[in-house]
Symmetry: C2
Subunit: 475 residues, 2 copies
């Protein structure tokens, strides 16, 4: 009955046990061997095939482990029931897809010779040497802990180092307990929506940071747009609304660049206090102010624990690391502890390295270097634009941050301007996606990030922009 095994046998290079395994598996799958049929005993097969028992034994064990057969000890191996199956066809599309795979990033980035990307940072400033040293050291020093999952809220030692840094340098008072290390703003927001109960309305800056807005939508929130422009923040809209939470970027509103005045900060805190609402303070580029000290953050003024503060390493260090942190009011801690197992946070190795980086004072020094560098770039960019465009564009929102907003005096719209710039190989941004309801009135607003490009590129870029737009500008 099982003579079939003697066919295409032995002349291949495949190990015996695999050949045996496969032949039985296929025959069971194809119904050639009916269900619950006793397979030849190991020794019977041994004689028939004239080999040792071991390959047969191994094959049978595999069949059994994988559910094609079962063993009755001291009785025999039996096939299992799998009549209707007809498996092991290969999928069609896969190979096609493999070939058509696009290396999406590269192909897009290549098209522009100069990219005023507001999300990029200065690659030459990244402290490769120091960071390498940190990584190498922690891999040695923490090798005992590398086999285990760490605290899902973030390594205790990093949270401690961060709390110290925030207290000393940013005036933010918090316990390491309140800090949650995360993998990015989206992660933090997503986590937040799980922590806050019964809040379904979120007030959101208009325009505002779209990825965060999307995250709230994805988590079932309804948005209440609060208009932000150069002069004001529409509190009226907030008061009238059902919002129990608001997302703001006070230190440098994204994208307009507006700095929220102290009075408005106090107002917001009062509102949150009265309504028992929460304020999410996204201090994404709070490290970068070019005029004196940073403004006191909402978190540091807050007395009532209504502020959730979010900071990041993406701007001051590198976005490649994807590490950020969130400071939560104490009342969240117990709930957070309960759900800590369903969190995910960055590599422990990176966290240890960052801890060492901060503790050894590198972080503090790095920030100072970055601030100076960006201050120069910032100044240079504004100077460039003013020299080249004179009064034909207006620069706004430039007290801080890593990008500026310009208002271009033309009758064209932002999209047209982008296209003209792209034709010259320059990428600038209109951030239309930051608006819930795009507002086309007035002159178009264009955004330029200056962190990611060099001063010479910047100069070239602005000159190219002048070429691109020169003829369509008003005086």
């Amino acid at each position: 009955m099982f003579d079939i095994l003697l066919s295409d046998f032995d002349n291949s290079e495949h190990p015996l046990y695999l050949q045996i395994y496969k032949q039985f598996r296929d025959q069971i799958l194809n119904g050639i061997i009916p269900s619950n049929t006793k397979l030849p005993s190991i020794r019977a097969l041994q004689l028939q095939l004239n080999i040792s028992k071991t390959p047969i034994e191994t094959a049978y064990q595999m069949l059994s482990a994988e559910g094609f057969a079962y063993s009755k000890p001291r009785s025999g191996y039996y096939s299992v029931n799998m009549d209707e199956f007809n498996p092991f066809k290969k999928k069609k599309e896969s190979n096609l897809l493999l070939n058509s795979f696009q290396y999406s990033d590269l192909s897009v980035e290549k098209k522009f010779s100069i990219d005023f990307n507001p999300a990029a940072v200065d690659k030459d400033m990244f402290p490769i040497r120091t960071w390498k040293r940190m990584l190498n050291n922690v891999l040695e020093d923490f090798s005992q802990s590398i086999g285990q999952y760490g605290d899902m809220l973030g390594e205790a030692s990093l949270r401690k180092a961060l709390a110290d840094y925030l207290r000393n340098s940013r005036g933010v008072l918090c316990s390491p307990k309140q800090i949650v290390i995360g993998t990015g703003i989206s992660y933090s927001i997503s986590l937040l929506t799980k922590l806050v109960e019964g809040t379904n309305y979120i007030a959101f800056e208009e325009p505002g940071f779209e990825p965060v807005r999307e995250q709230f939508l994805l988590n079932g929130y309804k948005l209440i747009p609060i208009t932000v422009n150069r002069e004001s923040f529409q509190f009226k809209l907030l008061e009238k609304s059902k919002a129990q939470m608001i997302y703001v970027t006070p230190s440098h509103q994204f994208p307009t660049g507006r700095v929220m005045p102290y009075a408005e900060r106090k107002y917001l805190l009062n509102w949150a206090d009265k309504q028992n609402a929460y304020i999410i303070e996204d201090d994404y580029d709070g490290e970068f102010r070019y005029l004196g000290q940073p403004i006191p953050s909402l978190q540091s003024i807050d007395q009532q624990g209504r502020v959730i503060y979010i900071g990041t390493f993406s701007k001051a260090f590198t976005p490649a690391l994807r590490m950020n942190y969130m400071i939560l009011p104490i009342e969240f801690m117990s709930k957070l502890q309960k759900m800590k197992h369903s969190l995910s946070c960055p590599s422990r190795i990176d966290q240890w390295a960052m801890q060492a980086f901060i503790e050894q004072g590198h972080w503090y020094r790095h920030i100072r270097r970055m601030r100076n560098k960006y201050k120069r770039k910032h100044h240079k960019l504004i100077e460039c634009i003013q020299t080249v465009f004179e009064k034909k564009v207006e620069i706004t929102g430039h007290n801080a941050g890593l990008h500026i907003q310009i208002i271009v005096k033309t009758k064209l719209n932002a999209k047209d301007l982008l296209k003209l710039a792209a034709d010259k190989g320059v990428r600038v941004y209109d951030f239309h996606q930051m608006w819930m309801k795009p507002n086309e009135s007035g002159y178009p607003q264009i955004y330029l990030g200056f962190a990611g490009i060099s001063e010479s590129e910047m100069e070239k870029g602005i000159l190219l922009l002048k070429e691109a737009w020169g003829s369509i500008l008003y005086e």
Copy 2:
């Protein structure tokens, strides 16, 4: 009126502009300077203080940027209204909290001298030297990209390397496009719930992996428990249910260790096909089978694109890296592309390093080394238990994976057993949290992970367990 400025001035080391800024700010905040009052002109102050214009100008700009004052061009600077405020008090609790902060992980772990933690992996096997080399190399080679956010679905090059590896070694056919790199199973599940529309019922193994269950609950899903025991998987429950999705761990069911037979796999796929349902295949320790080849994964048998495959680097490499991946059916890709900006994924640096690690063949070799090491440990543990306990405990679910289940023949319950073991300094696990409805009938089931401890610790641990439990065991 503003002579106050002349007080405590000049004898400090603080920069002039900050001293000026602070004095005005405080006076405005405290109401000493009423609202809408004209501040001294820049030149007037210059004369009064006998310094240059610059510090005063800077201070005024800061005050203006931060909303303490506003400028009327060609008229002067004016204070703003902020009567009622009394800020800059420090919060009370913070310092207390700082001191009481517990280094939670360490304090817990210290209590046990031997920990059969199923989540740990062998720390000595981590290829420190090679990984260092990878990190150092990519920090040099990719330094041009370090200033930018990468693809939020994961670096294209890593996804390519992974697809190649999966095809060659695991029989999993997929395009790099379908792969999403993530920061852990919770992240992947959370992402998944956002991708799948209209699915509110999820069938879940009972017992099953609790963190994932929690993640579904957090995302608003209702659970349908599907009982799993040594013999069977209760498909009847599945058929009757409204489930449109099911989460399974076929290669080594968590926690029972059961390997899902081929027939059941086909059944599941048929069910999913008929119901248009999705199967989430969590192949968390699929690399570790100790008998021949791995069983074909659901993903590789599936013809209809109903399987979502999730794999991880946490078991075979290190949980400290927190990197995993998910293979999605093609139909999800367009939706995924749309929400890619609200994702978060692991450090690009780690992704590049992992790509190099795979491409240079280290990954393949590493897996083999790990498999062998764990095979030996696995064998050793089972041998130990059998020698020490003879027939008093029964070992089940041990064809694969990094932990085993034992059934202890006693009238005590699992909790008691854990406590007795803990008294001897040994940590074992009852995984009660893996059950939705704890089932106390029958002998208690205890789980031992063997990946994280050495063979000698293992031996000691089992002997200590014998001491702890010896007197309460049945024959």
